[in-house]
C-alpha cells in the first residue's frame, strides 16, 4: 500500500483564455505537512478549488484515499474529510462567531428536519458542539466575541475563525489558503502550536499555501512550487532553496519586487 492520501494527476482548468492550472501533478503523504508556494497567479488557490470540488477540472484526476473525487460535489468531498479555508478568510457575517464555529459540526442530527421531533438528540449534540466551539475560541483568543456577529471581526480575527471552523469539522486533511498572512506573529506562533498539537493527536494531514518562506521552511515536510499553473519543483524544504527553476520563477521575482 502507498501512504499517499491525496494524488493530483495532470489536472487542468482554464477560465476563458487563462490556463489557471495547466497539467499539475502532485501528491501528499499521510500525516505530512506539505506547503505550496509560488508567485501570485500561479494557480495555488485554483488548485485548492479543484481539490475541494468548488470547481471541476477540464481534465485530470484527483484521488483522495485512493478514490476519485474530482467529480464529487463540494459537500461530498467535505464529508470525506477534506476541509478547506479560504484565502482572505470567509466568515458568515450575520451569524455570531459561535454560530460560525458550530456550523462546522459534522453529522449534526439537527441538520435534518426529521429530527425536529427528536429534540433530545439535537440538544445533546448542540451542547457538545457548543463546548467544543468555546474551547477552540479560547485557544485562538477570541472567546470574548463569541456572541457578536462575525461581521465585526477584523481581518486577522476572521482568519482565526475560518481556521477554527475548519477544525470543528473533524478534518482528515486540511487545506489552508494563506492562513497566516495578516495574523500577528505571536498569534502565528500559537496557531502553529495548535496545529502541531492536532497533528500529533489526530493524525491530520496539512496542505497549505503560504507566502512566508521562513514559516514554510520551518513547518513543512515537503514543499511544492507552482508557477503558471504547473508544478515546477517538489521536494524537501532545503532542496527547494537550491533549485534553479525555483530561484528563477519564484525567489527571483521576490528579489525583483523587493
Amino acid at each position: 500500500m502507498n501512504n499517499l492520501i491525496l494524488e493530483v494527476n495532470d489536472v487542468a482548468i482554464s477560465f476563458g483564455g487563462v490556463r489557471a492550472v495547466n497539467g499539475a501533478t502532485l501528491n501528499v503523504a499521510v500525516d505530512s505537512v506539505t506547503s505550496v508556494i509560488g508567485p501570485n497567479g500561479a494557480g495555488k488557490t485554483t488548485l485548492f478549488n479543484l481539490i475541494s470540488g468548488a470547481i471541476k477540472p477540464d481534465s485530470g484526476t484527483i484521488l483522495f484515499e485512493g478514490m476519485e473525487i474530482q467529480n464529487l460535489l463540494p459537500h461530498k468531498i467535505a464529508d470525506r474529510g477534506i476541509i478547506r479555508t479560504f484565502q482572505g478568510a470567509k466568515v458568515i457575517k450575520r451569524l455570531s462567531v459561535l454560530e460560525n464555529l458550530m456550523l462546522g459540526g459534522q453529522d449534526n442530527p439537527g441538520d435534518s428536519l426529521l429530527n425536529f421531533f427528536n429534540p433530545k438528540a439535537r440538544n445533546a449534540y448542540e451542547a457538545r458542539t457548543r463546548d467544543r466551539a468555546m474551547e477552540l475560541l479560547q485557544q485562538i483568543g477570541i472567546e470574548r466575541f463569541a456572541h457578536e456577529y462575525a461581521g465585526i471581526l477584523s481581518g486577522g480575527q476572521r482568519k482565526l475563525l475560518d481556521l477554527a471552523r475548519a477544525l470543528m469539522a473533524n478534518p482528515i486533511m486540511l487545506l489552508l489558503d494563506e492562513p497566516f498572512a495578516g495574523v500577528n506573529p505571536t498569534l502565528v506562533e500559537k496557531l502553529l502550536e495548535v496545529l502541531q498539537d492536532l497533528r500529533t493527536k489526530h493524525h491530520l494531514t496539512f496542505l497549505l499555501i503560504e507566502h512566508d518562506l521562513e514559516t514554510v521552511m520551518n513547518i513543512s515536510d515537503r514543499v511544492i512550487v507552482m508557477a503558471e499553473g504547473r508544478v515546477i519543483a517538489d521536494g524537501a524544504p532545503n532542496s527547494i532553496y537550491q533549485n534553479q527553476a525555483v530561484i528563477d520563477a519564484y525567489l527571483g521575482t521576490r528579489k525583483a519586487t523587493s
Binding site: S52, A54, L73, P74, H75, A78, D79, I83, R84, F86, K90, V91, I92, K93, R94, L95, E99, M102, L103, G104, G105, Q106, N108, G110, D111, S112, L113, N115, F116, R122, Y125, E126, Y149, G151, I152, R165, A166, A169
Partner: protein, 327 residues
Amino acid sequence: MNAIMQPGFWIFILTMSGIYGIFGLGLQVQYGVGGILNFGHVGMMALSSYTMAILVISHGINFWIAAATGVGVAALGGAFLGLTTLRLRGDYFAIVSIAFSEIVRYVIFNSDNITGGAQGSLAIPAIGEGYPSYTNAWDSIMNHMRDFLQPIFGDIVNREFVMALTIWSTLAVLLLIVSRIERTSWARVLRATREDDEVPAALGKNVFRFRLQAVIIGSILGGIAGIYWALESTLLSADDFLTIVTFYGWMILILGGATKVKGLPFAAIFFGFLYGGTRFFTFWPFSMVDSAQRAYIRIMIIGVVLIILMMKRPQGIFGKRQEMVLE
C-alpha cells in the same frame, strides 16, 4: 365611517390578517432565514385552494382529506419550483417564481372543465345534482363551534368570529412551530446559505437540500393560507391569485422584520387594517374617486409604506438592524 365602529369590521380585519399572516410566515422561512426571493408565493395559495375545491365539488371527497391534499399539492408546487430553479442564481429564482404563479393562474383561468375557468369555482362541475360548494363541512364545524362558544362569550360570537378565532389559533400554532424550527441547526445552516454558498458547502452541507426544504416549508404555509382563503371567500376565482397578493405577504414580512417571526402577527394586523380599512375610505379626499379606483389607492398606500420602510427601517419594526445591513 360607521363601519369602523362595528365589531364585524374588526373581525373581518382579523380574519384577513390571520390568513395573510400565515401566508407571510411562509415567506419568512424562505427569505428571512434562507434569503430566497420568492415572488410567486401566491401560486401555492392557488394550488391548495383550487385542489381542495375541485376534490370536494367534483369528486365528493371528504373536506379534510381534500384540504390536506391541497396543501400537499402546494408543497409539490414548491418542490417543483425549487428543483427546477433553485440551482440558478437568486435573482433568476425570483423571476421564475413570478412566472410560476402566473402560469398557475393562467392554467386555472383556462381549464374551464376542471376549474370553472373565468366563472370561478361556481362553474366547477359538481357530482350529481350537487351545488358547487366546498364549504359545507367547514360551515357545520363553524356552526357547532359558534353554538358552543355563544353561551360563554355572548352575542359577539357569530360564524365570522369563530372563523377569525380558528385562523388566529392556527397562526399561533404555526408561529410556535416555525420559531422552534428556526432555533435548530438546520436553520443555522440555512442562515449561512443566505450569505454564502461556498462556506457551508466546504463544511459538508448540501446547500441545495436546505434551500429546497425551506421552499417546501414555505409552500406548505402558503398552501394552508390558501385553504383558509377559500373557506373565507366561499367562492374562488383565478383573479384572487394575482401577483399583487404575493406582495401583500412581502409587506407583512418586511414590516414585521424579515429575520424574526415575533413581529409578524403585529405586521399582519397592520396590513389587515390597510387591506380591509381602505375599502371604507369613503371620506374626503378619497370620496373624490370611485370605488374601483379606491381599490388601487390601497395598493398605492401599500407600495408607499413598503418604500418608506425600506428606506427608514430595512429591518422592519421589530427586526434587528445589524442582521440586515452588516457587510
